[in-house]
Symmetry: C2
Subunit: 210 residues, 2 copies
């Protein structure tokens, strides 16, 4: 169970630590330090020690962290030491790319149903799934006890589809639509916004000589 | 020109401030405060004041910020008060979704050329563009003085394509491949990783009753 005492910004950094630890294990590098993790992630070692201290004592003074142990603890804390089912709404180009994304399966996330409202798409195969009528969204979520939804519909439809997801029982939404969703506070939303990434990079681009 | 004195984590937050200020302007809300911005973004007002202080004095004590002025200053600082051309490599489902993404155009980013290595795709139309042979990548980047590249190729090809982008003159890469790129330090990389978003949400999911 999540503690409400941990700042959300700290929780958002834990997956980055988990990713770095997984890379260390793949390189058979089994002891690490907050300094080393900080260098891998471009963060200060103090920040990493402070973030981890919310969840317990994972390292020994002067001894560093045992990588597999810390990795397993982070997997437990993040509740990613299990499989999660997801529903996907939107069977366009983006929906196809999402359904085929190997990274989800590798980390335990599985798209179990895909929906669209286009009669030309409903009933067609998409990978191993068959595209279903979005009219069946709520009942499918309820029947499967699904808690995670992926929104890959055009912006004008996003709010209405998100509300239907929540009515079915979805409590976490990965939102690819370029719009802010207004949902009850108990529903988590993570928006994928490539423009934010582009804007933080264009700060660094050197215009000299153009 | 970017100052090297500003921590990268601060730069990464500026687009979020810009987004919030743009929403305020759309709501005809023309004076704001670090408290209000903090509430919109789930951050502390002290953090926002500290971040902005790297770039100058934008508000008056007790008077708050003039939203259009601060928005324009952030656009200037981030170098997004202009148009940026981008090349896209990878004309699969994800590439199509990226090329059609309205958010890029709205914020001044334009895909000017798309490439693939699949003979079945080369020469085919993709929106208003024609898919080109990736063999022409470097010369197209050089001829157009393009600085931003989008990588939407399978993971095993990503490093090689990124290196070719950099040889052509690309200095910022939006990376959709689930892999770490090893590139010269002067090249910025922003990776779109939906799994990180999912993992930070599953922390909050309540498993009670299942």
């Amino acid at each position: 169970m999540a503690s409400t005492d941990v700042p959300e910004i700290v929780v958002r950094r834990l997956p980055l630590y988990l990713r770095a630890l997984t890379r260390l294990i793949e390189a058979n590098h089994l002891i690490t330090s907050s300094q080393e993790l900080g260098e891998m992630l471009g963060m200060s070692s103090a920040q990493i020690r402070k973030d981890l201290s919310y969840f317990g004592e994972f390292g020994k003074q002067g001894m560093g962290y045992e990588v597999p142990y810390l990795r397993d603890q982070l997997r437990r804390i993040l509740q990613v030491d299990r499989h999660w089912d997801m529903v996907l709404v939107g069977a366009g180009d983006l929906g196809h790319a999402i359904a085929n994304y190997a990274g989800f399966k590798r980390w335990g996330y599985r798209v179990v149903a895909v929906f669209d409202n286009d009669p030309a798409k409903i009933g067609k195969p998409m990978g191993e799934l068959t595209i279903r009528n979005v009219a069946e969204l709520e009942e499918t979520i309820q029947a499967g006890h699904v808690r995670i939804g992926i929104l890959a519909v055009p912006a004008p439809h996003a709010q209405a589809v998100a509300e239907r997801m929540v009515r079915g029982g979805i409590r976490a939404i990965l939102n690819y639509a370029p719009i802010n969703l207004n949902l009850p506070p108990e529903v988590r939303v993570h928006s994928i916004d490539p423009v934010v990434g582009l804007q933080s990079m264009s700060y660094y681009l050197d215009l000299v000589g153009e």
